[in-house]
């Protein structure tokens, strides 16, 4: 994976690949849309399912309700019949038990009948009479309760008396030992003079409740419960709650506060759905509605997850599909962006190698005609150009180096030929001599020389060889050797003009390259300052002294080495003590300034006049300084040679110490 690691950017941070960026953005977008769809689908389908649940429960409740009403109505009818018999026929007390037995026999739904007469009844026979009939073991038994207890404190007697209307009592466990749950319907009865005659009751076993409830097909883990008008359980799968606990007591005992609002809704006779949390069974949905005339309320409970089974399943499927889809999309995006960014990455790798200097690094093959292909093509042409450029640069550099090294060699030959020890004749107090050769960068060929031909004669030589480089340097060496050799051969006091003619002839011999040299010779007699001179195509020396500076009178003489058999004129003059001679090459007078203006001989002569009182070394340095100042930024185009000789007079002075 190393080649997938992005290199550091110049700011030191690592980059992110296009593939990663694209994938991240697409996944973020798709994920958000997916979540929104799941959430919307879940919430709407949940609402639909809850409505559907509510409707189903209502149907269930309605079916139960109609059954629920039937049996109590039987009890009510029987009770009313008994009341009618009592009030219309006014039967003697002895007949009453028989009547009650007959009635009970013809109504199998009713488990017992009872009449509790008032202790203030008009008929004294009735004042301590409480006949009851009830079923036991298939037979119908009769009992006068008055013999056993005080019936007037019991609910079924007391409540109708107090309320003045028929009513259902709270359920209770029957005392017949069967443990069956019972409920009484009690009706108040008044005699013709509107005195309280009796409370007439019918008792029902509530086992039919169980039948009705078990007949309700709630399905799954759902169950049904029934509470009375004060919230007491009369039906519940947890039998220990029956008759003993109410919704409110359970709420307190089991710390389930959400049962309290449910209880209030149920005993208030409302219909609706509540959501509950049962620590044992999780979230529950409770549908409730009133049933019958007894003020009771039916509750149907379902675990929420069962109600919402479908939607949970749907949500799971959706989530699974969504995640799977997202993953597939991720793979696809990686694949696609890899296809797109792959060529870019390969190009990046190639250009990285390119930028590190490996110009021969192969570029990725060009496929297609898109932007990347175009970029690759551009890079390829850039690399071609770079290679060409580098090649050309290499060649040029090599050529330049070759020329430079040749020039270096020429320069070292040139500089090794000219004497550079000053003062040259420290023991001879008559001589004050200084010279300087300043080679140009390319053109060259200047040289100077000075030597004593004997004790009292000093030869000054300045020359300028045409051409440049090693040929010019060698030509210069040859010229200098000829000058020295011929001067030596001609004795202590050669004639400059004859010497130049001899040198000319020697050089012309075998000068295939047509090179030539300009020369200026001056031979000074150190005893009296007199001198003779000759010139071969060279600017004439200047004589300077207290009166200024001036050129020596021109004498004829052509370039040396161009043509054999030439004649050179000779001139002569005399230096007074302190006067001097200034020899130079055309590099001085033809120095250019930045505007390509020539320095000219006039300017040089004026400068020389201004410096006439300086010693030779100071004069040469000052002249050099002024030439540099004149040239300014302009490159020195030719060698510059300056030679100054000042005559200090005949040997009247003390020679300088060595």
């Amino acid at each position: 994976m190393k080649e997938h690691l992005f290199p550091l950017f110049p700011d030191g941070r690592r980059g992110v690949s296009i593939a990663a960026k694209l994938s991240l953005m697409i996944i973020a977008g798709v994920g958000a849309i997916f979540l929104a769809i799941v959430f919307y689908g879940y919430s709407t389908s949940r609402a639909v399912l809850e409505e559907e649940f509510s409707a189903r429960m209502e149907n269930l409740g309605n079916a139960a309700e109609s059954k629920f009403r039937q049996i109590p109505r039987v009890a009510e009818a029987v009770t009313r019949d008994l009341v009618s018999v009592l009030t219309f026929f006014n039967p003697p007390p002895g007949k009453i038990p028989e009547m009650m037995k007959v009635l009970l026999e013809s109504h199998p739904e009713v488990s017992g009948l009872s009449i509790g007469f008032s202790k203030q009844a008009g008929d004294p026979l009735l004042r301590n009479f409480c006949p009851i009939v009830f079923r036991r073991g298939g037979a119908i038994l009769y009992q006068d309760l008055a013999q056993e207890l005080d019936w007037t404190v019991q609910d079924w007697y007391q409540l109708p008396l107090q309320m003045g209307k028929p009513l259902w009592t709270e359920p209770f466990f029957g005392d017949d030992g069967s443990g069956a749950m019972m409920v009484n319907y009690s009706v108040p009865v008044y005699d013709s003079s509107w005195r309280y005659l009796a409370s007439v009751g019918a008792s029902l076993e509530l086992n039919w409740l169980a039948d009705i409830i078990s007949a309700m097909e709630v399905g799954g883990r759902g169950y049904v419960f029934l509470v009375t008008s004060n919230g007491a359980f009369v039906s519940h799968p947890r039998r220990e709650l029956l008759m003993r606990e109410t919704l409110f007591t359970v709420a307190e005992m089991e710390n389930r506060p959400d049962l309290i609002p449910l209880g209030h809704s149920m005993i208030g006779g409302e219909t609706g759905v509540h959501s509950l949390y049962d620590p044992l069974r999780g979230r529950l949905l409770v549908f409730f509605r009133p049933v019958g005339d007894m003020g009771w309320s039916l509750g149907i409970v379902f675990p929420e997850e069962e109600v919402l089974d479908d939607i949970i399943l749907l949500r799971r499927v959706q989530t699974f599909l969504g995640l799977g889809g997202t993953f597939a999309l991720l793979l696809m995006v990686f694949f696609i962006s890899g296809r797109i960014s792959g060529p870019i990455r390969r190009l990046k790798d190639a250009t990285q190698r390119l930028s590190s200097g490996d110009l021969n690094a192969p570029l990725p093959p060009i496929s297609g005609r898109d932007e990347v292909a175009l970029l690759t093509v551009s890079f390829a042409s850039m690399r071609e150009n770079l290679l060409l450029y580098v090649e050309r640069l290499k060649n040029e550099t090599a050529a330049r180096e070759r020329i430079a090294s040749e020039l270096d060699i020429a320069r070292s030959i040139q500089m090794s030929l000219v004497p550079r020890t000053f003062p040259p004749f420290p023991k001879d107090g008559r001589i004050d001599l200084f010279a300087r050769l300043e080679p140009a960068r390319e053109v060259g060929g200047d040289f100077y020389d000075f030597f004593r031909t004997d004790e009292d004669h000093l030869m000054l030589v300045v020359g300028d060889v045409s051409g440049k480089g090693i040929p010019a340097a060698l030509f210069m060496a040859v010229t200098r050797s000829f000058v020295k050799a011929i001067a030596a051969a001609s004795g202590g006091c050669p004639s400059p003009a004859e010497l130049m003619a001899a040198v000319n002839d020697q050089i012309v011999e075998g000068n295939e390259a047509c090179m030539f040299v300009t020369l200026s010779f001056v031979l000074v007699d150190l005893r009296d300052g007199s001198f003779r001179y000759a010139g071969g195509g060279h600017p004439f020396p200047r004589l300077f002294g207290s009166e200024g500076a001036a050129s020596l009178p021109p004498v004829k003489g052509p370039l040396v080495g161009a043509m054999g058999g030439m004649f050179f004129e000779e001139g002569s003059g005399k230096l007074k003590e302190g006067e001097g001679l200034f020899l130079f090459t055309d590099g001085v007078t033809e120095a250019f300034d930045a505007d390509e203006a020539l320095l000219s001989e006039d300017v040089m002569d004026r400068w020389l006049s201004e410096m006439r009182s300086l010693g030779s070394e100071a004069l040469v340095s000052e002249m050099r300084r002024r030439i540099s100042g004149f040239a300014g930024e302009a490159e020195q185009s030719d060698d510059i040679t300056l030679l100054c000789f000042r005559y200090r007079g005949s040997e009247t002075r003390t020679p300088q110490a060595d």
């Binding site: 051409g467 440049k468 052509p558 161009a562 033809e590 020539l598």
Partner: protein, 116 residues
């Protein structure tokens, strides 16, 4: 900087030089002049018109010398004309006028090569 025009005449080549004939331009001049000599194949004269020449250096002188030496064996001449100023001075100082014919005017030059 430097320009040369070579006109072919019956007697040889009429060459007009403009600008500076120095170390930079001399090799070109030499090459073209020698090429002209080789192309002529027979005895030719050269008239070099310096009227528009601003400057001539030692390298320029050498290239003219090469041309003159090249023509000498076959009897060809190099005639200079139209010199003034620095150029005239250089030719004088170098002594070129002592081994090459120098004409005061163009007409004189043409007379020397026998064109008129």
């Amino acid at each position: 900087m430097f320009e040369m025009k070579i006109a072919v005449e019956s007697w040889g080549r009429d060459v007009s030089l403009t600008g500076r004939l120095d170390a930079g331009s001399a090799p070109d001049f030499e090459k073209e002049a020698i090429a002209a000599v080789d192309a002529a194949g027979e005895s030719v004269h050269f008239v070099l018109d310096f009227t528009n020449l601003e400057y001539i250096s030692s390298a320029g002188l050498r290239s003219i010398l090469v041309l003159a030496k090249r023509l000498a064996p076959s009897g060809g001449k190099v005639v200079l004309c139209g010199m003034s100023g620095v150029v005239e001075e250089v030719i004088g100082v170098s002594g070129f006028d002592s081994f090459l014919p120098v004409a005061g005017s163009r007409g004189d030059a043409l007379r020397i090569v026998g064109a008129v």
